[in-house]
Subunit: 260 residues, 2 copies
C-alpha cells in the first residue's frame, strides 16, 4: 500500500509546494511510483509540473464536489516524467471551502475519492494551502503521515505549535492513523544568524527534535527558477543545491519508511 503523506504548514511560503514537487520528482528517480495531489486552490503544484490550473479538466475540485461525475482514476494525468503522476488543482477549488461547510461528511470527501488508489502507488504526496481550512482537513483525513516543511525563520517555527495541536485534534476526531512523521528545514542559509538559530531550535526542541530530517533544504534560487518553467528542480538543473538536497531528502525519506 502507498505511503500517504500530507505536506502541510499553516505558515505561508515555507516550501510546501517546492517539497511536494521536488521530493515527488526525486522519489520517482529512485524508482518509486508517485502520485501527487494538488489540494491548494492556487494550483502552484499543478503549474510546478507544467500544467495550467485554469484549464478545464477533472481536478481535485470535482473529486470532492461532484464525486458521482468524476473518479480519481479519470483525474490522474501523466507528467512529462516516468513514474510521476498528478491530480491537478483547479481555480474553482477556492469556492469549495464554503460549499463544503454545509455538506454531510465534509471532512471525508477526498478520502472517499482517493480510497482505491493506495494499492497502485508507492507514495502519494498531497500539497495543501497555507491554512488549516476544510481543504487541509480533507487531506488530513486521508493521509497517514504529515511532512512539515519549516522555513528556518521565527514565524515558521512559531507555527509548529498550532500544527501539532491541529494534528492531535484530527487524530482524536477524524483520523486515528495520522502522525507527524517528519519536519524538514527549508530555506537554510548558513551565513545568517537567524537561520542557524532556528535550525538549533528545531534540533533541540523536545517536541520535534526526533522528527527533524538530517537533510536540510538550502536556500537556492534555482528552485524558484525551475517553477517558472514548470519543471521540478531535479530535472531542471541536476547539479544545483536544490536538486542535490531534494535527492538527498528522497533517500532519507525512503530510509524512514513511514513508521515513527
Amino acid at each position: 500500500l502507498a505511503r500517504t503523506v500530507a505536506v502541510a504548514n499553516e505558515k505561508g511560503g515555507v516550501g510546501k509546494t517546492a517539497t511536494v514537487v521536488n521530493l515527488g520528482a526525486a522519489l520517482s528517480m529512485e524508482g518509486q511510483k508517485v502520485l501527487v495531489v494538488d489540494m491548494d486552490p492556487q494550483g502552484n503544484t499543478t503549474s510546478g509540473f507544467g500544467f495550467d490550473s485554469g484549464h478545464d479538466r477533472i481536478s481535485t475540485y470535482n473529486l470532492i464536489m461532484n464525486p458521482k461525475e468524476a473518479s480519481a482514476k479519470e483525474a490522474i494525468i501523466n507528467t512529462a516524467w516516468p513514474g510521476l503522476y498528478l491530480i491537478p488543482s483547479h481555480v474553482d477549488l477556492a469556492g469549495a471551502e464554503i460549499e463544503l461547510i454545509k455538506e454531510m461528511g465534509r471532512e471525508n470527501k477526498l478520502k472517499k475519492a482517493l480510497s482505491g488508489l493506495r494499492a497502485e502507488y508507492d507514495v502519494i504526496l498531497l500539497d495543501t494551502p497555507p491554512s488549516l481550512s476544510l481543504l487541509t482537513v480533507n487531506v488530513f483525513s486521508f493521509a497517514t503521515e504529515v511532512l512539515v516543511p519549516c522555513q528556518t525563520q521565527p514565524y515558521a517555527f512559531a507555527a509548529l505549535d498550532n500544527l501539532f495541536d491541529t494534528i492531535s485534534t484530527i487524530k482524536e476526531n477524524i483520523n486515528p492513523d495520522i502522525t507527524i512523521t517528519g519536519i524538514v528545514a527549508t530555506f537554510f542559509d548558513k551565513r545568517t544568524h537567524v537561520s542557524q538559530m532556528i535550525m538549533e531550535k528545531l534540533n533541540t526542541d523536545k517536541r520535534c527534535s526526533n522528527l527533524v530530517y538530517k537533510t536540510v533544504i538550502r536556500s537556492n534560487t534555482t528552485i524558484a527558477a525551475s517553477s517558472d518553467v514548470g519543471q521540478p528542480v531535479v530535472f531542471f538543473r541536476k547539479n544545483s543545491y536544490g536538486s542535490m538536497d531534494y535527492i538527498q531528502l528522497a533517500k532519507e525519506f525512503l530510509g524512514r519508511n513511514g513508521s515513527e
Copy 2:
C-alpha cells in the same frame, strides 16, 4: 479620515506581515498616527510588535464574534513606540472562519466594529491571512485601499490574477469603494535572474505597471531577525536595507495619498 489599507495576497510568505509591521512603524516615524489590525489567525503581526497572540485579551476575534461584549476602542493596545497602535489577533480567530459562515451579514462584522475609528487615525493598516477567506473578505469590506506585496518570484506574480478578480467581485457585491492602490515588490535580489525577470514583468504588465511602487523591498535577513525580537526593523536596526527600504516606502506611500 484615516486611509484604510488592506495588505493582502493569497500567496503565502510574500511579506504581508513584514509590510504591515514595518510600513506601519515607518509611517509612525513620519508623524502619522497609525493603527494596525491583525486579522491573521497566525498572529504574526501581533508577535512582530512583541505581543503574544495566545494571551487572553480582547482581540479581532472578539470584535467579529462578540461585538456586544467588546468594542474596538477596548481592543486597542499601545505598542512600545509613539503613534503606533495595535488591535491584536488571537488563536481563536482560526475557528472564526467556520463560525462566521452561518451568520447574517458575515462579511461586514469587522466593518461594523471598526466604523468609529477612522476619525482618530491617519492610517489604518490591516494584515490578512494567505487565503481569500471570510476573514480576508471582512477586511476587504472595511478597507478602501489594497496594498499588494508581491515577492519577485513566479508563484507570487501568478497570484495577482486571482487577487484582481477577487477585488472586482468585492467591489461589485460588497464594497464599492475598494481599489488596489499599490503593488510593492518584495524579496528583491538583483543578483538573481528570477527576481529581475519578475520585476520586469511587474513593470511592464498592463494590469499593474501603474500600480507598482518605485520603492522595492530588497531581500534582507534583518527583517526576519527583527521579527524574532518583536520589533519593527526600522526600530531594530535603522541602517539595515530592510529599514531603509520601508522608510522609503512610507515616504512614497504618503506621496500617493490613496487616490489612484
